[in-house]
């Protein structure tokens, strides 16, 4: 997603509760299975982005999470086929009837790569740390909302307590945002961990991280506690995984096609042709996420009126966007969530392209005069010229925004593009632009809470304009256990978000990655993150 992630928040979060099937890559080694996996060698991986922060618990961009996936393990894992939560580092758990207390029984044979043992104390220290660094780890901390504390019952048992029901916590323990780190790592400052000083229990060890150049992972010889979802529960087949950062979309695809790397993660949709024309294999994942939107900032004056915000959506021709910019490789959005998200509700009636209605809405919002340049002004003489800041010139995002610019111009909106060289890391509300675009992957409707609730006000798209009604619904979403009931709440949430013009969903993201023909056993998890432990050549 990164090349198309134009602003700061390419968020990605955990796995699904309910997700049934998903087109993640399947193991590719079947035909040559007679030979069997071989051990050794180096897997050369190209990453389209260096997220610059490799603390699994901090900012959860997909690239960072993919590294976390290799170097850390989690208490549980989740079957992408059935949605079932499977034991991993926790062999067993008990949940109190009111879902406020979770008691985990842990494996006793697991060690960190620095030799220290994995035990209840470590689990407690990890959860405490997430809450302690709070906003730095806002996705993980969001999972722990209402955290009272963890109690070490003995070496192998820990009890986590919340002050209110937390329906999604067990699933959250399967996400990389709650990847478990050693005590020494937790003692470091968040900046030091972000810089790659991470020690986990995973099949690979992070050897070195050179910003903008490379990450080197080496296989852990004594690894013996792989997830039940791994084909290979022991030592990884490849001795080393050498990640290089190749930010140029074409170069990334070209490097794979010409055999200079073995795996390309994540490809621009425009590069898919290149891969298909080569003998490398394209792997697509329909991301269980929030449909990629344009988000108007409610706290900016220009978007204070919900009529103006709604007009944006009505003026947007989604089909034209996916047809031209993405050459039909993506589907237009039909709701706030993507079709593969378990909380998906078909709201396509609310997402029609209706320029006339858009103009009516704009008139109602006071944008009544149309200037000689075709752009509307209000009584105060202000032009309707909202701006958007994005990263990456020459990317599909830029093409998309240019097309949107033309579409919105038809109804008198001048979309001003502000390309920047680097994404700002500060909170959203401190920027001098009116719109943003971003993506967040988590196969659970709870994903909506992360950005629209007032839990971390400074991370909320509604900054300073928290919507109490929405807050309440999102709270219900978190505490509702019954799946049917949850879906109902999810629909209410999404309808409210569209009604009040909080988002302009554009398209459902399909993530493309690819691997060389010679790489066997390559598969990805539900979020399209490759699992290098199972790959061999």
């Amino acid at each position: 997603m990164s090349k198309r992630r134009p602003t700061l928040t390419a968020l990605a979060a955990g796995l699904a509760l309910l997700l049934a099937a998903c087109s993640s890559g399947t193991a590719g080694g079947e035909d040559s299975a007679s030979a069997g996996p071989t051990t050794g060698g180096t897997l050369r991986v190209g990453f389209s982005d260096d997220t610059g922060n490799y603390d699994p618990q901090q900012r959860p961009q997909l690239h960072a999470r993919t590294i976390s996936r290799q170097i850390t393990d989690t208490l549980t894992d989740q079957d992408p086929e059935t949605g079932e939560i499977l034991p991993w580092l926790a062999t067993h758990w008990e949940i109190s009837d009111d879902t406020t207390q979770f008691t985990f029984t842990l494996r006793d044979d697991v060690t960190f790569s620095d030799g220290t043992p994995f035990d209840a104390e470590v689990v407690k220290a990890n959860l405490d740390r997430v809450v302690e660094i709070g906003p730095l780890a806002y996705v993980a901390a969001g999972y722990l909302r209402g955290y009272v504390g963890s109690e070490v019952l003995d070496d192998g048992r820990v009890r986590v307590t919340f002050d209110q029901p937390n329906a999604q916590f067990l699933q959250a323990t399967a996400t990389q945002s709650l990847g478990l780190l050693s005590l020494d790592t937790l003692a470091l400052s968040p900046e030091e961990v972000a810089a790659g000083n991470v020690v986990g229990t995973g099949p690979y060890v992070l050897d070195s991280y050179v910003p903008d150049q490379s990450i080197t992972l080496t296989a852990r010889e004594d690894y013996d506690w792989g997830s039940p979802l791994y084909e290979n529960r022991g030592r990884a087949y490849y001795d080393t995984v050498e990640v290089s950062f190749i930010p140029e979309a074409t170069t990334l695809a070209g490097s794979l096609a010409s055999g200079q790397i073995d795996v390309a993660y994540i490809l621009d949709a425009a590069s898919a042709d290149t891969i298909e024309a080569s003998d490398a294999e394209l792997v697509s994942t329909a991301m269980p996420a929030i449909s990629i939107p344009i988000v108007p900032f409610v706290y900016r004056d220009v978007f204070a009126d919900e009529h103006t915000r709604r007009a944006l959506s009505l003026a947007t021709d989604r089909q034209a966007i996916v047809d031209t910019v993405f050459q039909g490789r993506y589907e237009p959005a039909t709701g706030v969530l993507t079709t593969t998200n378990p909380g998906y509700v078909d709201l396509s009636d609310e997402l029609t392209y209706d320029p006339d209605q858009a103009e009516t809405e704009l008139e109602q919002a006071g944008w009544t005069e149309v200037g000689s340049d075709g752009i509307r002004t209000n009584a105060a003489g202000e032009r309707l010229a909202p701006s958007i800041e994005y990263v990456g010139s020459g990317t599909s995002t830029e093409a998309l925004l240019q097309l949107l610019q033309q579409q919105w111009k038809q109804v008198g909106i001048d979309l001003v593009l502000k390309p920047v060289a680097e994404a700002s890391e500060d909170a959203l509300h401190q920027h001098d632009y009116d719109l943003s675009t971003w993506s967040q992957t988590r196969a659970d409707p709870d994903v909506l809470r992360t950005v629209y609730s007032s839990f971390y006000e400074n991370q909320s798209f509604l900054y300073d304009n928290a919507d109490p009604e929405l807050d309440q619904l999102l709270g219900t979403l978190q505490t509702t256990v019954d799946p049917a009931e949850r879906l109902k709440v999810s629909e209410q949430v999404q309808r409210l978000i569209l009604e009040r013009g909080y988002t302009v969903p554009l398209y459902d993201l399909t993530q493309y990655t690819a691997h060389a023909a010679g790489v066997q056993g390559y598969h990805t998890d539900i979020e399209g993150k490759p699992l290098f432990v199972d790959a061999w050549s």
Partner: protein
């Protein structure tokens, strides 16, 4: 010789001091507040994002809360002790970042210069020695292209042909000799045109000199005259150019390292500019200025060594 050396070294010091002063001035004497530019995203006004504490911290880290003269003296002192500050984006000492990239750029630049000289020589000789005026004229015209073709475009074209289509060389990275070929070739082609033109003119001029006539009257062939006599004289102007070439290569490295994704100081510079990382930019300005000064001194020395007639005056 000693007097010459002393004078050149003095000159070097002055230029270096100038480069340090310039890099200081860049940050301090510009419109807008450097702290706000660094914290913001470009012009000073958009810097609404930083908290006052962040601003104050950065201000004192950069010493911007002191009188200008004190800041300047402090800056000079730090630079002279090898402390070029910390990169604002990575938090590491800039000398560490530069140290990590310098080797790669030197490797790239060295290879490129070597290739450029060879290519330039080849074209110049072809342009003078090939039979047929029309053929020579075509070869000579091609050399003019080298100066006009944008390096960023050439890089893209070379990637398309030699990496994506033919698959001969990698389009990316800095692993081994293979990955050096295309970037070095890009830089070399852009530089070779100038060398070829200089050499061609030198050779043409030399062929018109009386000694060439003498040689011809002795029955020596055109190629014998060129290779035996004219080339040596024609090479001298090329030698004086090496200093400029190093500058050109560094400029080219900015583009080439970015397009080919190679680590190096050119790419570092672009990233510094993108991130408004002033300590890094300042250090790189001082470094490239210093590099130029040292190279021109070496060239001057070599020049005197090659052509002992030059005893007075300072070339370039």
């Amino acid at each position: 010789m000693t007097a010459f050396l002393l004078r050149r070294v003095a000159q070097m010091v002055v230029v270096l001091w100038g480069a340090i002063t310039l890099s200081f001035a860049l940050v301090h004497l510009v419109p807008g507040d450097p702290v706000r530019i660094m914290l913001g995203g470009g012009s000073g006004e958009t810097a609404a994002s930083a908290s006052p504490e962040q601003e104050a911290a950065l201000r004192s880290q950069l010493g911007l809360d002191q009188p200008l003269l004190l800041q300047y003296l402090g800056f000079l002192r730090r630079v002279l002790t090898g402390d070029l500050g910390q990169s604002y984006s990575t938090g590491q000492p800039v000398t560490a970042s530069i140290g990590a990239g310098l080797g790669s750029t030197v490797q790239l630049g060295g290879t490129a210069i070597l290739a450029a000289v060879l290519l330039g020589l080849l074209f110049a000789l072809a342009g003078v020695l090939l039979p047929g005026r029309a053929v020579r004229s075509v070869v000579q015209s091609v050399t003019v292209l080298g100066v006009a073709v944008p390096s960023f475009w050439l890089a893209v074209v070379l990637i398309q042909v030699f990496s994506f289509t033919l698959g001969w060389f990698p389009a990316f990275g800095s692993n081994g000799v293979q990955s050096l070929v295309l970037p070095a070739l890009t830089l070399a082609l852009v530089t070779a045109g100038t060398i070829a033109q200089l050499l061609t003119r030198g050779l043409t001029d030399a062929l018109g000199e009386p000694y060439a006539d003498t040689a011809r009257s002795k029955g020596l062939g055109r190629s014998r005259i060129v290779l035996g006599h004219a080339l040596r004289n024609a090479s001298i102007p090329v030698l004086t150019m090496v200093g400029m070439m190093v500058g050109g290569i560094l400029s080219g490295a900015v583009i080439v390292e970015t397009v080919y994704g190679r680590p190096g100081i050119g790419r570092l510079f672009v990233e510094g500019v993108r991130a408004h990382d002033f300590p890094l930019i300042q250090a790189l300005i001082i470094l490239t200025g210093g590099l130029f000064v040292v190279v021109t001194l070496l060239v001057d020395l070599a020049y005197r060594w090659v052509d002992p007639r030059i005893r007075t005056g300072v070339p370039a």
